[in-house]
């Protein structure tokens, strides 16, 4: 490539505290009616003061450890001023001069190429509310449920050099935050949002002018937006034109970045230390406790746990563990800790069977994991034959009303010898030629008879028992 792309990523991670950053009000707005998770503090009422939620500090510390750095013992909150209807106080409480995390790194792997991307800083701040503009109406709507939600903004060094690396960085951040239990990382609900800064330069010692594409909420969008910006900026530079430093948005439908509407104003946010919040001073004891919590649950320990549950090869482990879409599955497996044989079977389906049924793993998200484990356990306990179990897996994704327990009950393997013997006798009686062949020593015909018995039993008979009984009946 003629130009060297330089990419930096800012990521807002919503921390999974029970309550907001500065108010004792519920924090999970995903299924809440507008403006139901608010108090005088979220509304910025006269006389309302912030009161820092210690749980957010703990989670930020765990995030710091996930980024391989010890959090700062001294940090401070500042006020960032601007007027907007979803910002009730007229300022956002953020951290400018003394963020809780300074430094850190994220290790990524793109097609076997390992790389360590530096983290500049990560700071705590409160989220704003949500503004929506109903079309054709002369008003806008504001929902303050999200106002005051704790965010950790993680800022990378400009050390990413391709769209694939950008995607890998975003995915790795996701995994680090998810496995450390710092965030719900629900991308659909904006729990994690990415801003990508892209610039091109033909001179490796010098950075070009950058564009910033804001509010990307999928890994694919991160990858595509970077790809698009590299292409767009290359074309401009090829024509001898300049790249304008600007904020852009991502048009998902058109798969392109577009300049954000409205003129770019040079904002003066008038940052100054928030006089309502004393500096945060973390002592060794607090940090040691946060570290101990982190050590119990993080990317590496969880990977070790999954490996021990399932006896997987490293590459199979990567397939399940490093894929954001199967993370919940991996965690559920770890959580439920099924017998090794069950886990292996289920993981085998996940890697080899399920991709043939569904186009991507996103359908796994809902409550399908429990059903899969139930099917795996039924197979392991010989309640289902391999065929029946696989049929169950397929139906699980094809039928909305699939009920694993019911399926297992209805398709339970016939292991009662008397029952099977009855079917075997019937099959022998109606397939006398084949029976004679077997008796003559043509053992190939046993397979045919087994097949007939299985068919007659609707696949429920245990094939090993069937074979044994046929041989016994025909005395071979």
């Amino acid at each position: 490539m003629k130009y060297i792309p330089t990419i930096g990523i800012e990521c807002h991670v919503q921390l999974k505290t029970k309550t907001k950053l500065f108010a004792a009000v519920g924090n999970d707005a995903r299924n809440a009616e507008p403006n139901t998770l608010i108090s005088h503090i979220c509304l910025g009422m006269p006389g309302a003061l912030p009161y820092l939620n210690e749980a957010a500090i703990k989670l930020a510390c765990k995030a710091g450890f996930a980024l391989q750095v010890t959090p700062q013992k001294f940090s401070k909150f500042d006020r960032k001023h601007y007027f907007y209807p979803d910002l009730p106080k007229g300022y956002q409480i953020s951290q400018l001069a003394y963020p809780i995390i300074l430094g850190g790194k994220v290790d990524i792997d793109v097609a076997g190429q390992k790389k360590s991307v530096g983290v500049t800083r990560a700071h705590l701040e409160e989220d704003a509310g949500k503004t929506s503009h109903p079309s054709g109406k002369d008003y806008s709507l504001v929902d303050l449920n999200r106002a005051g939600t704790p965010l950790l903004e993680i800022v990378s060094e400009p050390e990413i050099n391709s769209a694939q690396e950008a995607k890998a960085y975003a995915q790795k951040l996701y995994l680090l935050m998810k496995y450390a239990d710092v965030s719900d990382v629900d991308l659909y609900h904006g729990n994690m949002r990415f801003d990508v800064n892209v610039s091109l330069s033909s001179n490796s010692g010098k950075l070009g002018t950058r564009s910033e594409t804001k509010n990307l909420n999928s890994f694919k969008a991160v990858e595509r937006a970077v790809e698009y910006e590299i292409k767009r900026q290359s074309e401009l530079l090829d024509k001898g034109q300049f790249v304008v430093q600007e904020t852009r948005g991502w048009d998902e439908a058109k798969q392109k970045t577009i300049p954000q509407r409205g003129k770019e104003e040079a904002h003066d946010y008038r940052y100054f230390p928030d006089p309502d919040i004393p500096p945060i001073i973390l002592d060794d004891e607090f940090l040691a406790k946060a570290k101990a919590d982190f050590d119990k649950k993080n990317f590496y320990t969880m990977r070790g746990k999954l490996a021990s549950v399932g006896h997987l090869s490293p590459s199979d482990l990567d397939t399940v563990f490093n894929n954001p879409e199967t993370v919940d599955f991996a965690l559920e497996i770890i959580e439920q800790n099924p017998k090794p044989g069950v886990a292996e079977k289920v993981l085998d389906w996940l890697i080899n069977v399920i991709p043939g049924i569904i186009s991507d793993y996103s359908e796994l998200r809902e409550n399908k994991i429990g059903s899969l484990i139930a099917l795996g356990a039924a197979y392991e306990e010989a309640k289902l034959t391999s065929t029946k179990a696989k049929e169950g897996v397929r139906k699980l994704f094809e039928e909305d009303s699939f009920d694993a327990e019911k399926f297992i009950e209805q398709n339970q393997t016939l292991s009662d010898e008397g029952e099977i013997e009855k079917i075997v006798k019937e099959v022998i009686a109606s397939n006398s030629q084949a029976a004679r062949d077997v008796a003559k020593g043509e053992l190939k015909a046993v397979g045919f008879l087994v097949g007939q018995v299985m068919k007659a039993s609707k696949g429920k008979a245990d094939p090993r028992t069937v074979q044994m009984l046929i041989k016994k009946q025909l005395k071979v």
């Binding site: 910025g44 006269p46 100054f272």
Partner: protein
């Protein structure tokens, strides 16, 4: 809720001392209510009567007669049933109208908050109510506590109870006048640069500014967060100590709080013998009116005669206190006033064509001149390019002042001087000159900058006008300060 009328200017009358003192000490009132000798309801009715009688002074913005009567009846029922009625059982009080109180409007004397009804209540009010006190009315102030005379109230000017042609001081002018007029046994004020002590001095009452962080700021309309404190305005130091005992203490709604004195504030020591007092040289120089200095000198002599060890002390940085104060406080208040944007509560310009116009016209019409002046200066000193020259430098000065006062307090138990450079000035005398008005805070701001407690207590009269003695103590020594103030008060009896 009834809104005060601005009429009712009857014959000018100067309050005689007996007329002013028409409430017993707060402790006695509560005792009598608990003992069933008087009822909470009769106290409330008496207070309402006095508010009506003295309406010409315009101390009050609104009266909470219905909710107050209802609460009084509840307290009387508790007494009748032999239940606990509280340390302030049936004691009416008046809150500056920047305290959020249920049952009426909270306006901060500003047009932008006119009609605003608090959806939650100030922690201080909750604490007082829990001990049986009853908020009977809301007092006038300079809008958003911006001022030293109540002339910046968006509604009306309060008159000084001692001389109706003069200001009561500010910004807690309505509260100080209310206590001076005995409209209720005590009132609450807020003090960012002297707003409790200066009006107390002008109105001849006791104004106490506690250590920063001792009393919760939650539910009090903020002026400048790092300087704002809440305190009582009373007739005596004993009353002040009792109120402090009820309102001090940590609160889960204010992060800037400190632990309170484990001992009761009422159990102060008023012995003056051997107490080391520094007289601040800079506070007794040519900036201070001669007559005021004369009264303070007499007060100093009294303290000496009572056994106090008095010496002069110099705090050279104190002259930088006022400019530093006006940079820090204006920076903070410009930020704190951002929330008054016409979108969620308070005044909203009804015919705005778009969002920008709604912001601009709501704030333009809703804020008075002084608030606008302060927002502009505060915004300026925080702007990029000016932050280092103003805000940062002012913070450095603040640290210097804190260090100097620590140094002084290593040699002295208390620092004293006059509360204000002059006695109460005429209405209109300074209102056209903001800088002159800002100078009335000259002697009080350093206690806000260093965070320590300070008190103004009546020291005598310059002609017919009262003069307050200002006493400062190190942070956390609130009880000791109330003790020496009480000792001085005893000398004056």
């Amino acid at each position: 809720m009834t809104k005060k009328s601005e009429t009712g200017s009857t014959k000018s009358e100067t309050k005689s001392k007996s007329e002013i003192r028409n409430w017993a000490p707060i402790n006695e009132i509560a005792n009598d209510v608990r003992a069933g000798k008087i009822t909470a309801l009769s106290n409330v009715e008496k207070s309402i009567g006095l508010i009506e009688k003295h309406s010409e002074f315009d101390a009050i913005i609104s009266v909470l007669d219905e909710p107050a009567k209802k609460r009084a009846k509840q307290i009387d029922a508790r007494v009748n049933n032999g239940e606990k009625a509280g340390r302030l059982a049936g004691v009416p009080f008046i809150a500056k109208d920047n305290f959020l109180v249920f049952g009426g409007e909270t306006t901060a004397a500003s047009n932008i908050l006119k009609g605003f009804e608090a959806p939650y209540q100030a922690t201080v009010i909750n604490k007082l109510e829990a001990e049986g006190a009853i908020c009977i009315a809301k007092a006038n102030l300079d809008a958003f506590a911006h001022g030293s005379s109540t002339e910046n109230s968006d509604f009306f000017v309060t008159k000084n109870p001692i001389d109706k042609t003069r200001v009561p001081g500010g910004s807690s002018g309505g509260s100080a006048a209310a206590t001076a007029l005995s409209l209720a046994p005590f009132s609450l004020g807020t003090d960012t640069g002297g707003s409790i002590r200066q009006p107390a001095s002008f109105c001849n009452v006791v104004g106490f500014k506690p250590t920063y962080g001792l009393v919760s700021r939650s539910g009090v309309v903020a002026m400048a967060s790092s300087l704002d404190v809440i305190g009582p305005i009373t007739k005596s130091t004993e009353d002040a100590a009792l109120i402090m005992d009820v309102i001090a203490g940590k609160d889960k709604l204010d992060m800037t709080m400190i632990d309170r004195d484990i001992l009761a504030y009422t159990k102060f020591n008023n012995n003056l013998t051997g107490v080391k007092i520094g007289v601040e040289k800079e506070y007794m120089d040519e900036k201070v009116d001669k007559e005021v200095k004369q009264i303070i000198s007499v007060a100093i002599e009294k303290l000496k005669n009572a056994g106090a060890l008095v010496a002069e002390v110099s705090l050279p940085s104190s002259k930088l206190g006022l400019p530093a104060y006006y940079i820090i406080s204006l920076a903070e208040l410009s930020s704190n006033l951002s929330r008054y944007d016409g979108q969620r509560f308070g005044y909203s310009y009804p015919d705005a064509k778009n969002l920008d116009e709604s912001y601009m016209l709501s704030r333009d019409i809703g804020f008075g001149d002084e608030a606008k002046r302060r927002i502009m200066i505060g915004t300026y000193v925080l702007s990029s390019g000016y932050y280092d020259a103003y805000y940062k430098k002012a913070q450095i000065v603040r640290t210097k002042i804190i260090n100097e006062s620590r140094e002084a307090f290593s040699k002295f138990d208390f620092l004293i001087g006059p509360t204000t450079p002059t006695a109460a000035f005429k209405i209109g005398e300074k209102s056209q000159d903001p800088l002159q008005m800002y100078l009335s805070d000259l002697l009080t701001v350093s206690a806000n900058l260093d965070g320590g407690p300070a008190i103004s207590i009546p020291a005598g009269f310059a002609g017919s006008l009262p003069v307050g003695l200002h006493i400062m103590a190190p942070q956390g020594e609130d009880r000791k300060l109330l003790g020496i103030a009480n000792g001085f008060e005893e000398l004056s009896k």
